[in-house]
Symmetry: C2
Subunit: 364 residues, 2 copies
């Protein structure tokens, strides 16, 4: 395959790799636009979207959130009651656990994200913990299940989208019940009228269209909790659950694109490269390195808007004529880095192998 | 390939068809969510997006629109001046000319839309014609070019995104200069701060991030006008230009989906099917037929919100256990229908072959 940008037409003969169902998911689910990475808050309508089933349209006036199961004083709240609670707004970076899946070899077959399943919004809502305390979980409670209004089938199994968190996880995480996004009401496709935001964890934990919180005296066995979102090495491996976001960085592609291949074109001379880096659990980014002309160079970091939001980085590059592949990699304050070859897993989760941006710099 | 929804796991072995560059475009560009087709106005953030190059972030306060070239009195307008002009709002259905491309055989290689590149917004702006008249096109003007701020390469050719309309087309079309969408400011990815809306035409005519309107005493030769968006049968065929939207219909998929294949599952019994139909040039929809149990049946049509917006249709079906493929096809008031096998063209434009919705109805 000829990958010279002098002959981009040749790229149109690249071999097929993705099936029709994968393409259907890619058409339905939306990735971020990497050229907008300079914005602290991802512009509304460009935040990534991964919808397992169908987006339900829910009447907010009639919507109730049930606190059910092993609570001493279970109750239901209307949206008006929830929105009368003390409100907080915070910038939180969400990322799909499957981000990077399309770069795995062999590639697990599901939504084939390249690098674009990430975004940062300002989420407005209320803290969940005081409501759980008010409902009074019984002493034997082991898990809290969060059930969405969206239902469907996966591998032949019908189920609503549901996830759980243990009492200890709830105590450690700043979980929010959210009704607003970027200063406006939550949009239907982002979970209106009410969703969970679990800051620092991959997006599957932030259940959309939330209808019910159930206290359980056993561990929740929902499909999305036990049959997927686990790091499994083989079919019989129960695997470890996918939880916190792993450290990753992205570059805003410099110059201008070729429409079809997205290869970048730019002129020789100084160019400021920029991008984002983030990790899970509120852990700050310690370092972003960028591979420029065969050498790793340290980028400058800027403070993040919230401990759960991404960090901005930048670095200057003297672009010289010819082909270049720009690579960035981040390290967090716990010393975790993006591995060049992350360990494989069956579900295709958390492939944090660095993004590679192919750039063609014109003759002087 | 086993397509039985009783064994959806088997579908994960379907053969690869799409290349990495096609998948990259599918991840970047967003399709509508068909489950939201009941809404007259597509919820903000779920309208389809096809961006040739990068989305530019433009400072609205500094943005100017130039009326340049063969005008007697060329001028520039600020956004404040444009937004002080008489405002109109209308619901307009936009569709990408490449919608349906992924269903063509052989498949032209570009953004591989299935059926989801359509949406309806309420666009707020002002009529373009009075401004053109004010600038005073010279007698020899043959074409008006509309140039966006977005630039890049296609087939090795650098160019800004630009399109043109002739004086006669401008006189016949209700072209708008638009700064608002669904009651809010235009979003960056939809062309902020200013875009064209050419009602009734495929989306390529509705230039986003509009910076310049140039009166020409020749026909505009921009890449997006002459080298693409044409119905070409072979490489040497200049082809006819892609203009008005061709008649098409879509069904809101009934029941609930399988996550991966999007095959639908539902229970036996009465089910109301619904969807949308639209054509170009303000031509109304005369008929929508739905293939139910081997017979075409007429759906009920409802009035559309604007002559340039889609029509809603519905029909009741008695779903019986087993596999079904539901098909809808529309006919407009000019007698144009969706052909089961539309004529092929090199660019993959206007493939209006009917959508086929695979439905599994459970045992009673």
């Amino acid at each position: 395959m000829d990958v010279s940008p002098f002959n981009p037409g040749a790229l149109r003969s690249e071999p097929p790799e993705f099936s029709r169902s994968e393409l259907g998911l890619a058409n339905r689910n939306s990735g971020a636009l990497l050229e907008l990475l300079d914005a602290d808050i991802t512009p509304t309508g460009t935040h990534y979207l991964l919808t397992h089933f169908d987006v339900p349209l829910i009447d907010a006036d009639a919507h109730m959130l049930d606190f059910a199961g092993a609570f001493d004083t279970p109750f239901r709240l209307s949206m008006a009651e929830i929105m009368a609670l003390p409100a907080i707004s915070r910038a939180v970076t969400l990322e799909c656990a499957g981000n990077g899946r399309a770069g795995m070899h062999p590639r697990p077959v599901s939504m084939p994200w390249m690098h674009e399943a990430v975004g940062t919004s300002e989420w407005t809502g209320t803290q969940l913990a005081p409501l759980i305390a008010r409902a009074g979980p019984r002493a034997g409670v082991l898990d809290f299940a969060f059930i969405g209004a969206d239902t469907g089938f996966d591998k032949g199994v019908p189920h609503p989208f549901g996830r759980s968190l243990t009492p200890q996880q709830l105590a450690e995480l700043d979980v929010m019940l959210v009704w607003g996004m970027n200063g406006a009401p939550l949009l239907p496709q982002h979970g209106a009228p009410l969703r969970l935001i679990v800051p620092g964890w991959y997006g599957m934990a932030s259940v959309k269209w939330l209808t019910r919180i159930e206290a359980l005296e056993h561990f929740y066995q929902g499909f999305q909790q036990v049959q997927t979102y686990r790091f499994r090495q083989h079919e019989d491996d129960p695997g470890e659950p996918v939880t916190s976001i792993q450290v990753r960085s992205l570059m805003k592609p410099p110059g201008v694109p070729d429409w079809f291949t997205r290869t970048r074109w730019l002129r020789p001379g100084p160019v400021r490269l920029s991008g984002r880096a983030w990790s899970g659990g509120g852990v700050p980014i310690a370092r972003v390195e960028v591979l420029l002309d065969g050498q790793w160079a340290d980028a400058t970091l800027r403070p993040r808007p919230d401990i759960y939001a991404w960090t901005s980085w930048q670095i200057d590059w003297a672009a010289t004529s010819g082909m270049h592949v720009l690579v960035c990699r981040a390290t967090d304050a716990n010393g975790n880095s993006q591995p060049m070859s992350p360990p494989h897993n069956l579900g295709g989760f958390a492939n944090t192998a660095p993004q590679r941006v192919q750039v063609h710099v014109a003759e002087a």
